[in-house]
Symmetry: D2
Subunit: 388 residues, 4 copies
Amino acid sequence: MPTFDDIADQLATQAIELPSWAFGNSGTRFKVFGTPGTPRTPQEKIADAAQVNRYTGLAPTVAIHIPWDKVDDYAALREFAAEQGVALGTVNSNTFQDDDYKFGALTHADDAIRRKAIAHHLECIDIMDATGSRDLKIWLAEGSNYPGQADMRGRQDRLQDSLQEIYARIGDKQRLVLEYKFFEPSFYHTDVPDWGTSYAQVSALGERAMVCLDTGHHAPGTNIEFIVMQLLRLGKLGSFDFNSRFYADDDLIVGAADPFQLFRILVEVIRGGGYGPDSPVAFMLDQCHNVEDKTAGQIRSVLNVQEMTARALLLDREALAQAQAANDVLAANAIFMDAFSTDVRPQLAQWRESRGLPADPMRAFLDSGYQETIAAERVGGQQAGWGA
Amino acid sequence: MPTFDDIADQLATQAIELPSWAFGNSGTRFKVFGTPGTPRTPQEKIADAAQVNRYTGLAPTVAIHIPWDKVDDYAALREFAAEQGVALGTVNSNTFQDDDYKFGALTHADDAIRRKAIAHHLECIDIMDATGSRDLKIWLAEGSNYPGQADMRGRQDRLQDSLQEIYARIGDKQRLVLEYKFFEPSFYHTDVPDWGTSYAQVSALGERAMVCLDTGHHAPGTNIEFIVMQLLRLGKLGSFDFNSRFYADDDLIVGAADPFQLFRILVEVIRGGGYGPDSPVAFMLDQCHNVEDKTAGQIRSVLNVQEMTARALLLDREALAQAQAANDVLAANAIFMDAFSTDVRPQLAQWRESRGLPADPMRAFLDSGYQETIAAERVGGQQAGWGA
Amino acid sequence: MPTFDDIADQLATQAIELPSWAFGNSGTRFKVFGTPGTPRTPQEKIADAAQVNRYTGLAPTVAIHIPWDKVDDYAALREFAAEQGVALGTVNSNTFQDDDYKFGALTHADDAIRRKAIAHHLECIDIMDATGSRDLKIWLAEGSNYPGQADMRGRQDRLQDSLQEIYARIGDKQRLVLEYKFFEPSFYHTDVPDWGTSYAQVSALGERAMVCLDTGHHAPGTNIEFIVMQLLRLGKLGSFDFNSRFYADDDLIVGAADPFQLFRILVEVIRGGGYGPDSPVAFMLDQCHNVEDKTAGQIRSVLNVQEMTARALLLDREALAQAQAANDVLAANAIFMDAFSTDVRPQLAQWRESRGLPADPMRAFLDSGYQETIAAERVGGQQAGWGA
Amino acid sequence: MPTFDDIADQLATQAIELPSWAFGNSGTRFKVFGTPGTPRTPQEKIADAAQVNRYTGLAPTVAIHIPWDKVDDYAALREFAAEQGVALGTVNSNTFQDDDYKFGALTHADDAIRRKAIAHHLECIDIMDATGSRDLKIWLAEGSNYPGQADMRGRQDRLQDSLQEIYARIGDKQRLVLEYKFFEPSFYHTDVPDWGTSYAQVSALGERAMVCLDTGHHAPGTNIEFIVMQLLRLGKLGSFDFNSRFYADDDLIVGAADPFQLFRILVEVIRGGGYGPDSPVAFMLDQCHNVEDKTAGQIRSVLNVQEMTARALLLDREALAQAQAANDVLAANAIFMDAFSTDVRPQLAQWRESRGLPADPMRAFLDSGYQETIAAERVGGQQAGWGA
């Protein structure tokens, strides 16, 4: 088994993108609870995100969501972020909150509405040009609630047409990343429900179109690490949306529901060349902190990913390969579990200190008084949420 | 197989309670779409509900939700409903939208909050006294999102304490009905997640405490008609919340996702003595019309239940019993499917006309111009939704 | 809505292939129950299958399984089938019952075992040449039970290599059809677990490599008709394995668990050009009659498919398209449900009689005394099952 | 957080019962692979089980299965076990392999068959008297495959009658433990499908009737630790059947699929008084080693349970209670995860050595040559499996 020293340099390359919206309020259809200190502006979200990076060194970029993070001057926003010590990352489009999109956007049978949705994505690419973002991430809420409601085939064809138009505008160093989701907010059919559909759609576009895998967007029981393996094999894994779930798209803190699954995913990422500075795979969070503190929740999240990455890097791949070749089921599984069972927290603490980071980032953040300060200062205004 | 005439009288006893909130706006955490004509007041909801009964003769009562349907004068509301041709039915409590209930209500460790939640239920019983309602329905959104967050055992004990206090206030002709739900809005543990828990909790209360079975509140693959059978056998099936689902608690129109499941449930209801004027089982709808018209959606819903009830009543139980006794699997299944395969729509149309109802209630409603009228008249004000 | 007469000719083109193994014994890991009259030889299986066609006119071909249906002279078997009034259809390979395949076959890391598995498939193609079969169907039981046990990526690459060799041997008028399955008999990872994997694998082979969709091989909640639509759109739906399930791969009679789902699937088949004499889609059954009579069970199965096909053909597609275009959710759903709610049994009975078939094929078969005859005659020998 | 020393004594009380059948061959409906050294007799199974206890000190008893472990002289078998250093434990009945039980046993409508099944259980109690076993465990494979096939209500009533007769024969120091299972081998309805049914059935019997919770017998997504909590609260948790699963009743090694779930279950066991010498809860394994070595697989299993028990005992319950009381979600979860993240393997190794056990039981067993010896010696005869 490699030692922690063996993997220290690899750990140093880890970068996890934070979603600006995780710092706003979120909840369920039943209730969205507000909390003191919740950001009111894109700038305040970025400021909070920068705290995560400050204490962990793991989160150098912040993904933004249009129109939630719309500003007049994106160059200024980019500069603001830089001042906070972070950069702007992926731009996420939104076609699920305009009344026009009730029955679809990029798939809509009404050409006027479909063109409006395409135009929104072109605007997002303009923003990417201004922010210096590489990735346009498209998650589509589109689908239908009742059998017969929609012509699924026609929608699929129109989706491809729409994506072709958007892709044509993507720059040479930019990418289009298409997310899939099993269900919700549509409850009968979803237009991009599985990795196969996303793969088929982006394959028809071109090289700079990739699949985004959100870890919470699968049917019960799905072997997610298998999909990771397959998409890396096919050269089409563009990014992760990390979170965790017990039931549906619960959007809990990554690693909270099934840490062993997160470990298995990361093992497969590394095995397939998806980890490291040359990898095309972007690691993002996409979570909801419905009941817990948001900035602290994000800190916990990136630490969970780091911890499982360290365990995955510690896997003794040579010994594993030998046991696999011998079909020694118990030995192979034991080697696999040995890495997972290793408590990397003490060594990660030392490693952090050696790099000028606090040994216990959560403690350091909580002690900093930041949360209390923003709770006191951010009075009035409209707390950010999914609607604004 | 019985003829339609044989079952006509039984069909006449069917009564399905409508939820006032189904006439307000609903949606997902991503978006709630509004529609022209959506009620602004409890009265407007009741007026819409009365339309459903007018055209179908199936929906003589309307369930209300407190505080969404709070009014100053419940006697007046009762009278208003009577004028519309309907009565007020089940009173539903709400402990999921007050900031105090973020971490629980009837289960809360903080006694002050728990007492507030109990007091809310006592107020609901006061309202029941005023409206003449029989049933207090309790659905609890309580639970936790993360392992370790909550002491599940302590919460279960406090829940029993709280229910004891509420039950003590229930009148001799009133009932407490406790709903269970697999998950949502809590994503790790839910305090009343399954029929077993609801059954154990209400059994400890007394005879007038029953279980409410919401058809959308089960784990994937659950055989719901088995639970119907078991609760009827145990004498504890108090009511249904009808709806349907493909995935989670989708709250689609009852019978829309799996009509055969609805048929099987109704077969078991009838077999277990849960159908008819002397049955203790209340049939309610609990649905969301996120993308379809609301009043028309409710009409469709009660017609679906009626249609499947008719098919279930047509089941040749004697022949079935013989085939079952002979372990003739294919014959028994064929007898079962024969009832399900029977198209009862033409005979139901005649049956309606013979009772002074329109043969095609949906057509009659759409032709009535009611929807256009309310869309034109209900301008301004705040459309009702889950928050008000 | 079309009339039954409008669709009569289309119904006449329906052909459903029967699996020879459905006439043998099957069961669970807990017990396989035998029944009097169960075939002992491939010939007896074919004779039983021919009964299904005799009474329904729906099942002109019989799929065989190698080695279960191995004979010395396939030309003679072909002739025997012809005498019974049926033809031999798809050849199914088997790589899950040889001790060598405990840890894989086409994916095995040991080249000797992998070559053995490839050779088995080449032998199957030889048999196809002799039987005149068009399709080689490959279902792979391969996978692993424990995390770490297997190198999923290496296996995927070897699978492609193996398939390339097999595909190279496929004749110009033959096809390779690759089935996928969510899980079982492997319980951690399966090498072809979803349509996306099957699609990626066969797309890399060529035009005559297609996907086989077994209706019982999906995760809970999967929208199967969506996959049907997508594979037809991509030109890669080769065949169906029809059956039904409540839980896992239950292999129940098609249409028994969720007749509405079968209807939706058939609607999408027709919409996507997958129905009719020019369609590339083969309709097969793949079921287990663990507790019911086998030949009668197959009759029930093909009648279920026919009944739902008739309902699907009756769908008023023009009206549906209009309602869809108008985003009239309830109207579109109502048009869809009208077709599903139509009881086609009386007209199907007449249609059968007009073609010289018994109005009630099940009754005719039961009255024929065939089952009693084979029960009396087939004494001694080894009843066919999954092992022989 | 407690230290390992604090929990050392508690660990010493752990006893996990092994199932004799885990040492025989098992598999799926597709194939059962045999392996050299597989026991041919109950004695050989017990000898293998004794190896597990010899190297781990964790498995002092062996559960037997009737008729698989039928012998002429149970007193002699008891003595044989004692010589091997173990005792005989729970007696498991079997009503799923006799042809008479095809359509039910304790639920059968035919009284003769039902009486036969009752008699089988009375015989099991006779055996318990001879072996000194405390628990009669009843798992019922009963159910149906098709809607309409069976009268679920009648079966439920007959089940209660049958259990009453069996319970009447249970000795004062004996117990009846009723297992539930979601599905399989029945694929439509199962007569005891959930904890609620088992609880209702055993509650009607009396104090010495309890529920058995098999960790693989739940619907997808079920929160099993909640059920553990509830059954302990209701005083009805009699025993565990430990194993793990990704999909259905996969019967994998306990802790292999989701170690965090096993941890959560054990936390709730301890919290509810289910751990320790005075607890009424029996810890059993019930697994299948389809592809891995059996005795080694059982060693791995008991070590997994021990490891997670140690982590669960290390949980800082006081700190957790404080964080819970403060509704500090992240702090409570962090305390919970701290225990789970602790690598107890080095300390467990020391602890073992201090008790005269090998630090690495697996290594010691593999080095002992036992497996090679039995592979060489156990030649000829019929390897034990689920059928013999």
